[in-house]
């Protein structure tokens, strides 16, 4: 792994397929990796992490990672820990809904304007966490 990649923060959303929360987290991560902090972040497929193959274990081992989970099952966080990733913080989409009581966010297939707003706000929070991680801030976990 190059030194440049070593400094990048790994982002892993749960991408849950059953509820809107999974899509909101997935889109927030894509916004950070694609627009807000493209130079500072890297994506890893959660499905590959689930396989626990040697290749992904080597890639994740000790890598500073921020997970974004849709539901309290915390699949992304748990699976990243299992392959040796170092969790800087774990964001939860359900927390992002606290300031949007009653919002109709859409479905696991597509987001409404409310859903995109929640996702974008989550992306802004996530970008700040990436900055903290790169500056050597304290881990939440």
């Amino acid at each position: 792994m190059s030194e440049k990649n070593e400094r990048k923060v790994m982002l892993v959303p749960c991408s849950g397929i059953g509820k809107v929360h999974g899509l909101i987290g997935r889109e927030a991560v894509f916004r950070v990796a694609g627009e807000l902090r493209p130079q500072d972040t890297e994506l890893a497929c959660l499905a590959e992490i689930v396989t626990q193959d040697k290749e992904i274990r080597e890639r994740m081992n000790g890598r500073l990672t921020i997970t974004v989970d849709g539901c309290p099952k915390m699949c992304a966080e748990k699976n990243v820990r299992l392959v040796g990733g170092e969790i800087f913080t774990s964001l939860r989409v359900v927390d992002a809904f606290r300031t949007h009581r009653g919002a109709q966010a859409g479905s696991a297939t597509e987001l409404t304007s409310d859903g995109w707003q929640i996702s974008d706000e989550l992306a802004d929070r996530l970008a700040l966490k990436v900055d903290e991680a790169r500056q050597g801030g304290n881990k939440d976990a």
């Binding site: 991408s15 397929i17 059953g18 099952k73 699949c75 699976n79």
Partner: protein, 155 residues
């Protein structure tokens, strides 16, 4: 031999390439539009993060995996952690490696070309569902084909 009432679909939803997004949206299309009520899904990472009831998925339903790339993570993880996969589809086989390996996309970036690709994969997936529905399930691979274990969260 047991009659098949519902078919399980597990997509990789991979975040690192376009194939993952295509697999996810094709699976959602089949679940919601082409075969609603005949198909169920579960989040792949629940096989490790969830309980025993979630790991029963592929032993409860004849299951189709839809993978974005040739790594076939959904297929391999399902076989390893849940049970026998009845049919394994791969976006790179259906659309070609170049389409599958293209950069991942936000749904904000959906365009007619991507929608055509998603439609092609969802058609293949629908056909795979019909093929399984038309056949009795092989009993040796199924635990209880129509009655999920207590506590299983069907999506």
């Amino acid at each position: 031999m047991l009659e098949v009432k519902k078919v399980g679909i597990i997509s990789c939803s991979g975040e690192e390439c376009a194939g993952g997004g295509i697999s996810r949206l094709a699976a959602r299309h089949v679940l919601e539009s082409t075969r609603p009520g005949r198909t169920v899904t579960i989040c792949l990472p629940l096989f490790l993060a969830g309980g025993e009831e979630e790991r029963y998925f592929a032993r409860t339903f004849p299951t189709i995996t839809v993978d974005g790339c040739e790594k076939r993570c959904a297929f391999r993880a399902t076989e390893k952690l849940s049970g026998h996969v009845t049919k394994a589809l791969t976006v790179s086989d259906i659309l070609g490696a170049e389409s599958a390996a293209a950069p991942s996309f936000s749904q904000r970036q959906l365009n007619p070309e991507l929608e055509r690709k998603i439609d092609t994969v969802s058609t293949a997936l629908t056909e795979a569902v019909d093929e399984i529905m038309g056949k009795p399930a092989a009993a040796e691979h199924l635990l209880k084909p129509t009655v999920p274990p207590a506590g299983m969260r069907l999506l």
